[in-house]
Every structure is written in structure tokens, then in C-alpha cells.
Amino acid sequence: MCPGCGHDQISNVIIQAAWENGLPPEGIAKMSGIGCSSKTPAYFLGKSHGFNTVHGRMPSVTTGANMVNKDLTFIAVSGDGDTASIGMGQFVHAIRRNLNMVYIIENNGVYGLTKGQYSATVEKGSKKKKGAVNTQNPIDLCAMALNLGCSFVARSFSGSKKQLTALLRAAISHKGMAVIDVISPCVTFANNDESYRSYNYVKENDEVLHIVDYISHYSPIEEVDIPEGQFKEIELFDGSKIILETIGSNHDTTDVVSALTAVHEAERNDKHVTGLLYYNGEIPTTTETLGLTNAPLCSLNEEEGRPSEESLIEVNQRFRSS
């Protein structure tokens, strides 16, 4: 990656979060599409299998893999081009199915690998170092995920290591689709101060919803300072907890309307709201909805995967007599 790229910081956080959550590398599947962000799985968790698929189609490949091995932890990395343009359809439908995966969007507002074209998430009026002003409305992927009923929606910043680590750890513990939209400055094409996704801009305009801490289920006493003021505790699927310490207004993570309000208000004020926007641990995942057998389908043997010869005799006979 280019020196200083936000994506590298995210890769470090992924390594950290996986290690801190105690995930064995063989239990993780790294998924990505095409673009700068999607190249990063080559640089983290080298002991995990991964699939760098095709542009915008990572969610479908993850879906197929998840169906035949639901025991894997799917950590997927995509970009704003890969998700908000070419991959919009698959992003939307993976959310609708509540696929059990972590979907990280490394969002910098530009196509880096093809040398700096605007993506669909860039703000109207944005001006890169070179080139024309963007005239189209941006797509806010968090607002979109919220509208689609996504079970875990967060926004963070590649420069906020502590917040991002806690959110990512919680996302890994979550059962269902966890979307984390991470603002990740492109140092080469869009780090000029007037760009909303430059380091300087994000640092000055980050509206932090709450301070996020994560307590793992296997080691409840960590070096987490339980805040004294108002805080909220959310228990995740594996027994881990997220602690949200309120700063300023009290954000209700169970209320999708207030989550949307937070996103749209920030947008109106040219800010980025970060933190856990919405969480619902009660929605069944795709494999649960489909009622799959308990063992991962890829582990079935001949007898479990192929019906008996007697059953075929019976099928033939039924056609004959009907």
C-alpha cells in the first residue's frame, strides 16, 4: 500500500482484533472483492484461507462459502467502489439475508487502484487534488444498511484505533451481518484538507457517539475502565459485551430511527458520526432461516450427502404408480 494509507491501519486492527478475540487463524476466512482495500487480505492473517474474488461480488462468494461451512468466521474487506457502485446489489442482499459475516468497508471516496476517480460515497462538491468537482449526491452506506434492517451497523475512522478495535471485536462476536464503514483516507488521491475523508478533516469533524469498549466472554476482567457516568452494556452472541459510554447526547443503539437521525444530522453538518449506530442480536442468520443441519455441509460424508439406493427405487416406483 502507499505509505500512510488508512487501509494499513485497518489491517493492523484486524490482526489485533482477531488475536484479542482468541480466534484460531484456521477458523477465519478472509474475503474481498477488487480494489486497493480488497488487496489487503494478502497482508494480514497469513495463516487463514482467503478469497480475493471479483469486483463487487465478494458477498455472493461469502454467501456460498457460509452455506457450506457456517462454522467459519468470515471477515470481509471491501471498498467504497467495490460496495457502493459495482457491488451495491450484492451488498444489499447479503444484508437482507443477515449473512453471518463482518463486512468492513474501507471508505476513502475514490478509486485508488485506477488512479483516483470519484466513488459513489464522495460528498457533493468534493474536489480532489486534481480533476473536476463531484456533482452527484453521495451514498451513505450506514444509512443504507440501517434502512435495510442490518443487524449491526457501525462507523469508524482508520485513525481511531481504540474505537475501531472495540467495534471490530464486537462485530466478530456478533451473529449476523455486521457492517463497519471505516473512513480511511487515501493519502495519494484525496488527502487534501478540503476532502471530507482526509486525515485532517476527519480528525476535526468526527462526532463520536460514545466511547466503545469490548469485554470478551472468556476474560471478563480486562484493562477496560468501566466508566462512572452513564453507560450502556450490550451482551453479544458469544457472551462478550460492549460497553458504550455516553458523551453528549444519549444514543439508543436499539432504535433504528435515532441511528438514521444521527447519520443524517452529521451529514447535514458536514460531520462524520462514529460509533455503534445500531445493534439487534435477535435476527436469525441465513443458515438459521434455511434450517441447515448442525454439521457444516462441507463435512458430510457419502452417507449423509447422498440419499440411499433404496430411496431411489422408491422414487422410481412412485413415478410409475402416479
Binding site: 462468494v61 454467501t63 456460498g64 457450506v68 442482499h93 439475508r97 439406493e309
Partner: protein, 594 residues
């Protein structure tokens, strides 16, 4: 041969969505159960209700399954096509028409018989008169052909399974139809349906349902699909049979079914399933293959197993969505950008739909690539006879799959893409196993799966892939040969042309040609094909498309000295191949050669 007993063609013209399909299937199944060699073809529009539809039933003592070249009995129910349906008939045709249409039948040279079908149906059930009216032509037809109402009862019971009221009403309509015809029609026809000893093993089934069952016995773990005619019934067949055949002891299913957002996603899911060690499949038609092409290339290059079942409809573009063709073959064989080559299995009957349905998964895992099933609308959506499906003769072939460290240690100098055995097929490990993890990619990669743009590495990879797929040739279903002693003319064909080839063969033999046939059942082609062509003076590649797609593939791959013997007869109008038409095309090519 010239007898009109069990030798006739019935054409039934109705409007889509009027319930006529039930009546047509009752006729088809009645004759089938009587032991009469019969075939039915549904020519339906791309529409839910209102557009014209025709059902062609052919009885043939010789077992010919192609649609006949002329109609013997025409049933006219549809006002919209009334005039054309009647005008086009040959002199002497029997016409059965619904009098309530109040339209003229001006054909003094034909034998026309009317019945107030709607009026009579209204008396049984006013609300369902439009649907019930169709059962009256079943009665009329039964009278003409001399079919006993008891023989019809079984087919009606089968059509309206368990719905006693419906069975009773429909039988009443049929019996009233028979009674009306015998009282009012002065008919002297020698078209007769006569019972024959029926092989009690044989039953009729649509190719798509046979495919569905085949995949279930092939251990399918993941079906992703996007609805498209004429392939949807493959998916629906799988969904129908899964609860009974693939429920595990804990009550959960062993096959995930996902209706995808589009064909791109459906293909992506197949790759995901194959990558993770499962057996994934999607079914589609030509437009879907166009959309899936990107993933097909990824499957080829990253060597991920998967199955795509293509039920061909007429292209290009949206084309004629409810008509048949063999127009996808060259696309399947070389789908996606860059140099690719894919294994294509081509069933010619419902038994092979079943067999290739399970075999496709074995081949996909053996060769770690996308394997296509290539059927078409005629085979997939019409009903064909089988004596019953045969259980797979061998256990599932998982190919060169390494499941544990011990197996890995047994492979010297392992690398995900290293040709250790010299057959071009590398070994693979699975995510979740912890064994030799790599990042799969569609970008250039070396033998260990590491990104590479090295010219030598790329060229070596592509050469190995060619070797791998070429090496599959003689492990794929071999051609079915029917050879004459006099090796004058060989016809090379494939797929649902099987249903017309016997009749084509007989027509050509009656004109003095000595005809051998060779039915290709897979690509890349089997080595036996080359010897077949060598043995014959002339070989004609007969297919249902405009450009001679198989002919083109063979021209590219056959040894040059055989090419001068090879000729193309390709024709497609959306209809299943009429034997006479295709025979004439062959004869005209042969005459040009003289």
C-alpha cells in the same frame, strides 16, 4: 407403417392461462398408459395469460418423438389464432372446434366437428366454465380415437391428485364430451388409439425434474438460482425433493437453497461453496450464462469446482424465451474473457439428465473447475419416457482433496497450483482445515498461489490448465455410436436432437443413404469421435442453431486431415427439430458436395 393406428399428430390450439395444459397432459398420459409410443410438446408463449399456446401430441408406432411434419387432428379453442390454425391445415384434416367461439370453420375439404364446450361446461360449474371447457375436447378426441373413458380416468386422477371434486367434475365433462360426439358427429376416421402391452417400468418425466433428482443424488450442498425460463423447474424440482431425500437425522437440511438477487450472485455463491469444500450448483439459461461469465473465468483460473446447469432457450438477447435451441454451446465451452475451456456435459434424454446431474459434481471436483450441464427447453420442459433412474455406480469423487496433515505430507513438494502428478491437476486444501492456507485470487499466481506477473509463470499456468481440461476428454461420457457397415455418411449430433434422429435416419435410409450416427455427450470431445470421422466418407454435424457451433469447435480442434470430411447442417427456428425438414437440409448439403 402406413396404418393410422397409433400413427397420428394432434395439434391443440388454446390460449395461455386457460387451464388447457391439464387437458393436454390427460390426453398424453392416457395414451402413454395405454402403451402407445407417444410424445408431447408444449409450445407456449412468454406470457402468463392470454397469448396463444399449442400442444402437439404425436403417436408413433415406430417410436418417433420429433413433432410430426403435418397435423392429422386439429383442435381449435383460441379465437385469436382461429383463422390461421384452420387455414394452414392440409386437406382431409379432422378439426374439433368449440362452437361457442362463434367463429366460422370454412374448410369444406376437412372434416370439422363442433361442440358447445363452454355452454356445456357452464352447466357443471359456471365459475370454472372457461377451464372446464377444455375437458370436452378430451372427450371429443376420445370418441374419434376410440379411447375408453376408463383409460382416461387414471390420467385424470394423476393430474388432480387427491382432489376428489376436481376428478369428478373433469370426468363428467370428458364423459359428456364423449356422449355428445357419439350422438352428433358423423365421423368415419381410421385414426385409432389402440392399447399395446405397456412396459410397466416406464414412466414420463420432464428433463428438468430428472436433472433435479440427479443433483440431489450427486450430493448437492448449495443451490443458488435466479428464476429464468426454461430452467426454473430444475430449481423447483430440487426444492420439491429435498425435504424427503436430504433431511439429516437432526431434522436440518443438507442442502442450502438460495434464490439469488441475480445470476451474477448465483454464480458467485457456487464458487463460494466450491471453495469452501461443498458441492454448489446453479441452473440458468443463456442470458444467465452471459451474466455469469466473469465468475466462470474465475472458476477456471483459480481452479474452484462448481456446476452450472444451462437449459438453452432461443437467443441472442431475450430472444424467444419459450422456444428451444442449441445456441449456447460455443459460449459455454469458452465462457469468460481470456483463454478458457470448460467441461460441458450434454444429455440427450432424461436418463442422462439424471446421470449427468450427479456426475457433474464428481467431474467438477476431479478437475477443480466449472462443469456445465447443457440441456434445452425441449428436453427440460417436456415429458419423456424412462424406465427408471439408475443409482450412481461409484462413490462421490472428491478429487485431489487434502483433508489432513498426513495427506498433505504424502504429496511431495506440495503447492496449491503445482502439477505434482503430471496430469495438470493440482491438490487443494480447504478453508477451516488449517492446512496450507492461501489467498485464492483471480490475478496471476505462481505454483504456490502467490501473486505473480512473471511471463514464464503465467504461460506455464495457462499451459497446465489446457493440459488439465484436455486430459479430461476420455474420462467424460463417450459418444453413442450407431454404425452401418457401409461407412458412407456419418451424422454427428448432440442433446435433444436425439428425439428426432431415428426418424431422420429412416428418412435418409429410405432415400438410399447409408447412415451412421454419433451422439456427442461431452466437450472437450472424446477421442472416439476422431475415429468415427476417419471411418466415414462424409460426416455431417447436425445441430439446432444458425452457425454450426459444434462444427466450429470441431474445426478448431480436429486434426487438419479430417476437416475435409466434415460438413455443417445447422438450422434453428425455435421449434424442436422436425425430422423431414432436417433431413432435407442434410440432403441438400450432400447434393452440393456431388
Amino acid at each position: 407403417m402406413d396404418s393410422n393406428v397409433n400413427n397420428f399428430v394432434i395439434n391443440i390450439a388454446t390460449a395461455n392461462g386457460t387451464g388447457s395444459q391439464s387437458s393436454n397432459l390427460v390426453i398424453l398420459h392416457t395414451m402413454f398408459e395405454m402403451g402407445i409410443p407417444v410424445s408431447g410438446k408444449n409450445l407456449f408463449p412468454s406470457n402468463i395469460s392470454g397469448l396463444p399456446t399449442w400442444f402437439i401430441i404425436r403417436a408413433s408406432e415406430a417410436g418417433y418423438q420429433a413433432p410430426g411434419d403435418k397435423t392429422d387432428i386439429q383442435i381449435v379453442m383460441n379465437k385469436d389464432t382461429w383463422e390461421k390454425d384452420i387455414t394452414n391445415l392440409e386437406s382431409g384434416t379432422i378439426i374439433i372446434f368449440n362452437e361457442d367461439a362463434k367463429l366460422p370453420v370454412d374448410r369444406d375439404d376437412c372434416f370439422a366437428f363442433g361442440m358447445p364446450m363452454t355452454k356445456m361446461a357452464r352447466k357443471i360449474n359456471p365459475k370454472m366454465a372457461k377451464l372446464m371447457a377444455n375437458m370436452y375436447y378430451v372427450g371429443g378426441l376420445a370418441h374419434i380415437l376410440g379411447i375408453d373413458s376408463n383409460d382416461i380416468l387414471k390420467a385424470v386422477k394423476s393430474q388432480f391428485k387427491g382432489k376428489e371434486k376436481a376428478i369428478e367434475m373433469n370426468m363428467q365433462a370428458i364423459n359428456e364430451g364423449i356422449a355428445y360426439a357419439s350422438e352428433n358427429w358423423d365421423i368415419k376416421s381410421d385414426f385409432k388409439a389402440e392399447s399395446r402391452p405397456k412396459d410397466s417400468d416406464t414412466f414420463l418425466i420432464e428433463g428438468n425434474e430428472a436433472t433435479a433428482l440427479g443433483t440431489i443424488y450427486g450430493g448437492i450442498n448449495m443451490l443458488s438460482w435466479y428464476p429464468i425460463t426454461p430452467s426454473s423447474s430444475v430449481a423447483e424440482g430440487i426444492i420439491k425433493w429435498l425435504p424427503e431425500l436430504r433431511t439429516a437425522k437432526d431434522g436440518g437440511t443438507t442442502c442450502a437453497v438460495i434464490q439469488a438477487e441475480d445470476e451474477l450472485a448465483a454464480a458467485g455463491m457456487v464458487l463460494g461453496a466450491g471453495w469452501a469444500g461443498g458441492r454448489g450448483m446453479t441452473c440458468t439459461s443463456g442470458p444467465g450464462i452471459s451474466l455469469m461469465s466473469e465468475f466462470i473465468g474465475l472458476s477456471y483460473f483459480a481452479e474452484v469446482p462448481g456446476v452450472i446447469w444451462d437449459v438453452n432457450r432461443v437467443g441472442p438477447s431475450t430472444g424467444l424465451p419459450t422456444r428451444t435451441q442449441q445456441g449456447d454451446l460455443s459460449m459455454l465451452y469458452e465462457a469468460s474473457h481470456g483463454d478458457t475451456q470448460h467441461i460441458v456435459l450434454i444429455p440427450g434424454n432424461v436418463d442422462e439428465c439424471f446421470e449427468f446431474g450427479w456426475k457433474a459434481f464428481d467431474l467438477a471436483e476431479r478437475y477443480q473447475t466449472m462443469v456445465f450441464g447443457f440441456s434445452d427447453l425441449d428436453l427440460g420442459m417436456n415429458r419423456w419416457p424412462t424406465k427408471g433412474f439408475k443409482y450412481p455406480e461409484s462413490e462421490m469423487d472428491r478429487g485431489k482433496l487434502i483433508r489432513n496433515q498426513q495427506e498433505l505430507d504424502a504429496v511431495p513438494n506440495y503447492g496449491r497450483y503445482r502439477d505434482v502428478d503430471g496430469d495438470g491437476i493440482p491438490y487443494r486444501t480447504l478453508p477451516g482445515s488449517g492446512i496450507d492456507p492461501i489467498l485464492y485470487r483471480g490475478t496471476g499466481h505462481d505454483e504456490d498461489g502467490v501473486y505473480s506477473e512473471d511471463p514464464i509463470v503465467y504461460q506455464k499456468t495457462m499451459k497446465r490448465l489446457k493440459k488439465k481440461i484436455d486430459g479430461a476428454r476420455d474420462n467424460l461420457p463417450s459418444p453413442i455410436l450407431r454404425e452401418e457397415e457401409n461407412k458412407e455418411l456419418g451424422i454427428i449430433f448432440y442433446g435433444s436432437m436425439e428425439n428426432s434422429i431415428t426418424e431422420i435416419d429412416d428418412i435418409l435410409e429410405s432415400k438410399g443413404f447409408s447412415v451412421s450416427t454419433c451422439r456427442i455427450r461431452a466437450l472437450p470431445y472424446h477421442s472416439e469421435l476422431e475415429s468415427f470421422i476417419s471411418r466415414h466418407d462424409i460426416s455431417v454435424v447436425l445441430e439446432m442453431n444458425r452457425d454450426g457451433q459444434l462444427y466450429g469447435i470441431l474445426r478448431k480442434e480436429l486434426p487438419t486431415q479430417l476437416l475435409k470430411k466434415l460438413h455443417s447442417v445447422a438450422y434453428s427456428d425455435g421449434m424442436p427439430p422436425r425430422a423431414r425438414l432436417y433431413s432435407e437440409k442434410i440432403i441438400s448439403v450432400l447434393e452440393e458436395l456431388k
